[in-house]
Amino acid sequence: MNDFLATIGRSALDFFASVGRLFIFAGVALSHIVRPPFYFKLLLRQMMLIGYNSLPVVGLTSLFTGMVLALQSHTGFAGLGGDAAVALLVVLSVTRELGPVIAGLMVAGRVGAAIAAELGTMSVTDQIAALSTLSTNPYKYLVVPRILAGIITMPMLVVVADVIGILGGYIVAVYLLGANPSSYLHETWSALKFPDFMSGLYKAAMFGFVVTLMGCYHGYHSRGGAQGVGAATTNAVVSSSILILLMDYLLTSVFFS
């Protein structure tokens, strides 16, 4: 019985210690965002890697999401005579929820893993220690550009995801299900509300922060060679995916309660 309680106690202590380390890491990283020197070239490079290079995967997943939504809502509402609700459902779902969440999860898989692997390899090969001995703060040089790039580019990606997702719904509704194009567009435009659109962008900025923070945190603290880097990569993707869904719930309850 004592062993059992000790195991639970140790796990709880480990969990709180990890959360504490993550908060300290995030606090130090955020404090360096506002203190010079600033590495603008590195920020632009990360914006290209995180934002621009994620466009194909985010665009494709959003397209299919919009198409599936139109198909599902059409078949679901058919018996209720609710064809007109297809445009409304596609717009609301994409702008409020699925645009930012799908984009966030895709970026977590693509970018979070890449950041954790890159920083993890740098950590286990002493490259991060080398930065410190070369008058360069690793937080400023490695962490800040990635986190800032995540916060800035995720909302941009979600704007693209929203447009492509709604387009996917339009394609299925008009060309497959025979909806009237002009009335579908009119219903889409009527259903599109600025606060819904903005709530998606706020979520996206938070998801960008979460994905890049978890990638940097797990990579930075990776130990033990190739196995450690692999574990860091897995942990970064899993933890950022869970946090995206948790943050989505919390932000939704704040925006729409």
Partner: protein, 256 residues
Amino acid sequence: MTAKIAIKDLYKSFGRKKVLQGLNLEIGQGESVVVIGGSGTGKSVLLKCILGLLKPDSGEIFVDGQPTTRMGGSERAHMLAKFGMLFQGAALFDSLPVWQNVSFGLIQGQGMKLAEAKKLAIDTLSKVGLGADVADLYPAELSGGMQKRVGLARAIASKPEIIFFDEPTTGLDPIMSDVINQLIAERVRDLGATALSITHDMASARKIADRIVMLYQGKIIWQGKTAEIDHSGNAFVDQFIHGRAEGPIQMEVRAS
């Protein structure tokens, strides 16, 4: 005269494992000290504590008479500007070409213009026996020996007052090891720098050290001039320098 580096009663543990147990060491201006000892005796931890990469549990480290263990960010960065370091695996930045690796500290730390930094990098590469054609290659395109040379060039590029060498010859063949040792000895002498090296390669220690220090179980058990090591009268030192399995040092060997 104030020691360039002075370490007083340094303790460092990781959980229950006591790595450094009251270590005291002074290194004079322009002196080259080599710390020898088996794996896990705390050599790397000692270097990392001096650089501030690890925080000691207790004790103090003085650089030019200034206590360093409680230094903050900018003060520490200013202190670290005096240092150059050659890492065990060279630790070159994969994403940058060789010349940017060599002049990284000058570009980022001192804001040197890229054209000037490249010229200086090529000049520094020539001092470690590498041609200008290497400058535009990436670290992954270099052999282990060449990576060590580039790492050495990076360590000396900013003309540091203090240079650390972490296992400089590990993984190199005996001839390349001797080349690296020779380069280290020459470049440290040219710069008039204070050098602290850790190694278990005795050929390396003999070539680059003015003074050798032996670490065992987190403490210094012997130190003396390089020429004295063969007549140390210390059974631990004798066992280590002759590489004998029998002796007072018991290695933890697990049967497979």
